[in-house]
Amino acid sequence: MIATAATSGIRPGRFVLRVAAWLPAAFLVWYLAGPVLAWPVGMLSTAVARTAFSDLVQGVEQQGHVLVFVSTLKPTLATTTEGMARGVLSIDVNVLLYSFGWPMLAALILAARQPHPLRTMLVGYAVLVPFVTWGVVAEFLKHLVFDTGPVVASQAGFGAVQREAIAYAYQFGVLILPTVAPAVFWVLTHRRFLETFAGRGPGAGAPRQ
């Protein structure tokens, strides 16, 4: 690929301003389209839950940008009041908490002014779906193990090592993945732009925009 005129010599300040300019629009679209964007995450979460945690999850329902994990676990011991024992525990997870990297990625892609931004955004969206799902499923498990009390947690049957793994997966999924995954995707798909940005690419000596 040959560097386009738009990337030959890039002023960091202008690039940052373009990112800042695209960010509000990207966040608005992301928020308004939240339920649609969350749909593949719901599908993948359902597949993961049915494959890996079929004994814990009856199903996953989508309500807007919230996924409701309907578990098989009872909120209290089966020997207590009949009505209570019949109910099952459901846990809500807000997909937006794990997908705010999408508008960040969109702003970066649009600010870089590289060819085929729409295609790159669509690929980026698809690539990030598993990472968003990671956070969603990890939050469900975290609630199940740490926030529901010993009666429910004991029904889940996780050992000490598994609880530690869930804690790490949740923390990694909420604090690192939502922003690092889109940043890594952007760097990987904009190497030529970055070469020029860093003053090493083919257009490094050209007038800066």
Binding site: P12, V16, L97, Q171, P178, V184, R191, F197, A198
Partner: protein, 166 residues
Amino acid sequence: MVRFFLGFLVLQALLFGFELTPWAQHWFVVPWTGALATLSADLVQWFDPGVLATGNVLQSARNGFAVSIEAGCNGVEATIVLVAAMLAFPAPWQRKLVGLAVGIVAVQGLNVIRVISLFYLGQWNFDVFEFAHRYVWQALIMLDVLIVWLLWVRTLPRTTPRLAAA
């Protein structure tokens, strides 16, 4: 590039795992978070004397509104990402150390602005506070890390490997 990314991902996962240990929490994360709250309160007191910091909590004495600085809001994770990216990238050690010193100040500086802005946003409108806190500032801090890293790469001598080959 593959080597850089593998190094970055491994370093980041290790540093993040270390951050979660009780030892790191006790000796580094908790004191750091308290210092961040104190620094934010000191800065705010220049123009708003009725602000107090207790531990990791920043509170307005005027209306009682308070924000608690928790994991994800103390800039530690963003700093970990920056440290991993700079250490994994092939560059002279001297450049790495200078980049880390300047970069950490840049990331933490923006994080102080995040804490202070959220403190006032929360007093103005809680819905806006929630949106900014949960989504917008998280993205802005990572953009800060990315831009700091890009600017650092830009300052490296041209004898270091190209991004495509790193």
